[in-house]
Amino acid sequence: MTRRNMGVHIAGIQLKNPVMTASGTFGSGREYSEFVDLNQLGAVVVKGVANEPWSGNPTPRIAETYGGMLNSVGLQNPGVEAFIKDDIQFLRQYDTKIIVNIAGRTVADYCKVTEKLGDADIDLIELNISCPNVKAGGVNFGTNPAMVEEVTKAVKKVARQPLIVKLTPNVTDIVEIAKAAVAGGADAISLINTLLGMAIDIHGRKPILANVVGGLSGPAIKPVALRMVYQVANAVQVPIIGMGGIATGEDAIAFMLAGATGVAVGTANFMNPRATMEVLEGIEDYMDQYNIEDIHEIIGKL
């Protein structure tokens, strides 16, 4: 029991365990700190921040679906400066790594927020490329290998912290995209972001979300996420952070067997505010059950 080694490295940063939070589902940690001890987490991944404040989409922004939910928050955020001022100090009270998820509408946008984070006391940057590229007619950065490589390269150049690139699953070939991110200099890969979906209010005869479409997350998408983690883990050398429907330790073990070094808990926090802790305990139980002393005996060991 005492000899369990749960520590993992993501892009050169040592995490005390592989359990982290999924960006956008855990605020900046403050709200859930009333329910869980943030010291127990490998890392807190904060909600996406952009160079300027974004007001996001109109409400309703949330719709429930079978085994999942749609969100069209639209990356509302107070901007990177407000984030640096308000949230880092709070998080640094805890013994956990800070990963900042960043959003942008142009390559220059992404670079600016990265630069502003240069002197900030954070551990890793997670580049969310599931954003529309306004300079390319609104095509999602993450759906085009050339754009993925370009934005990764540009951000990597200015980043002072190691760089995770977070991929969108709404693509034909996730491996091609992952390779482009690695070619651009990604130190790690996060996947998956949400699947594009829609829900309809049949009585009002209108979409439930004001934005019409939104991102699907939760247990429903786990099989797609697992498949992508497996495919990418077999194609690139950098560590992978797996997410998509993780709600239990068993789910997390499945992702790690598929090749994920870290696991992030997202929508499950809404189902159970202590989900991150239960995932961690579940991993520990599994290790005890099979006498696994080091978590690396699980990673990629399918």
Binding site: F26, G27, E31, P60, G68, F270, M271, P273
Partner: protein, 256 residues
């Protein structure tokens, strides 16, 4: 450390067609709950993962219970209505800020619309009945006697005119034109918007309890925003769950 609680159902009865009142035993919640706060209720429905936000309608600290009143509109509330005494449900709360009770106001009024009425009951109790209550319903009023029992004067409007005055609650308000120095309200958005306008005309402050589709219920997902502005210029998205659900009517931006 906050947590989800198992709350035992002490009662679950139908008040009027498709509207139920449920009494929950939870000392933890009853001890700290405030009027206008809500609970996140985890309904046991196959495939449904999110909690349902439901307002607290009454608090009985001594008994360690809170009461909720809910309308059956979908799968979650349907499942809730089928639960029976003795069963336990998972509840998170109390959540949100509740009403800001202004003791110094001599002429408070309460305005409730439909299923927005329940949270106003605990408020009326805390105002010790020293309040005029205006309630509007499509049909089948609820909780009227409960408000009267506290000693409040209650005016009721229904759309079908079967109970109280035929019309909506704004009709009675305009007709009675009561003396008022504070408005507390909860109900559908169009009603709240009308109240905001009415209050502005009268030069009186109004509190409105807003509703929005939620995921986390605690301020983490930014799903449930309400556009607000303090100086009518800079727009700010506040979270209904964490910064609300009660707002000042003049900070809410009613037309997008």
């Amino acid at each position: 450390m906050k947590r989800m609680n198992g709350a035992r159902i002490l009662e679950n009865k139908e008040l009027v067609s498709e509207i139920y009142e449920m009494v929950l035993f939870s000392k933890e919640i009853a001890a700290i709950a405030k009027a206008g706060q809500f609970l996140n209720i985890y309904c046991n429905v196959p495939g449904r993962i999110l909690p349902r936000p439901i307002s607290i309608s009454q608090i009985h600290r001594e008994e360690g219970t809170v009461t909720i009143v809910y309308s059956v509109v979908g799968k979650g509330t349907k499942a809730l209505s089928q639960m029976v005494m003795g069963e336990e449900i998972q509840v998170m709360g109390p959540l949100g800020n509740g009403f800001m009770i202004q003791e110094e106001c001599a002429h408070p009024i309460i305005i409730g619309g439909g299923i927005g009425t329940p949270p106003l009951l605990e408020l009326a109790k805390q105002l010790q009945g020293n309040v005029a209550v205006y309630l509007g319903f499509r049909r089948n009023p609820i909780l009227v006697e409960a408000f009267e029992k506290i000693g409040a004067k209650v005016y009721v409007a229904t759309e079908d005119g079967m109970d109280g005055v035929k019309g909506n609650v704004m009709d009675i308000l305009r007709e009675k034109n009561p003396k008022v120095d504070m408005v507390y309200s909860c109900g559908p958005k169009p009603m709240l918007r009308a109240i905001a306008q009415w209050a502005e005309e009268k030069g009186v402050k109004a509190q409105v309890s807003m509703e929005e589709r939620m995921a986390c219920g605690i301020g983490a997902c930014v799903g449930c925003t309400c556009k607000t502005s303090t100086d009518k210029k800079q727009v700010m998205n506040k979270r209904v769950c964490k910064d609300g659900p009660v707002f000042w009517s003049n900070e809410v931006i009613w037309h997008d």
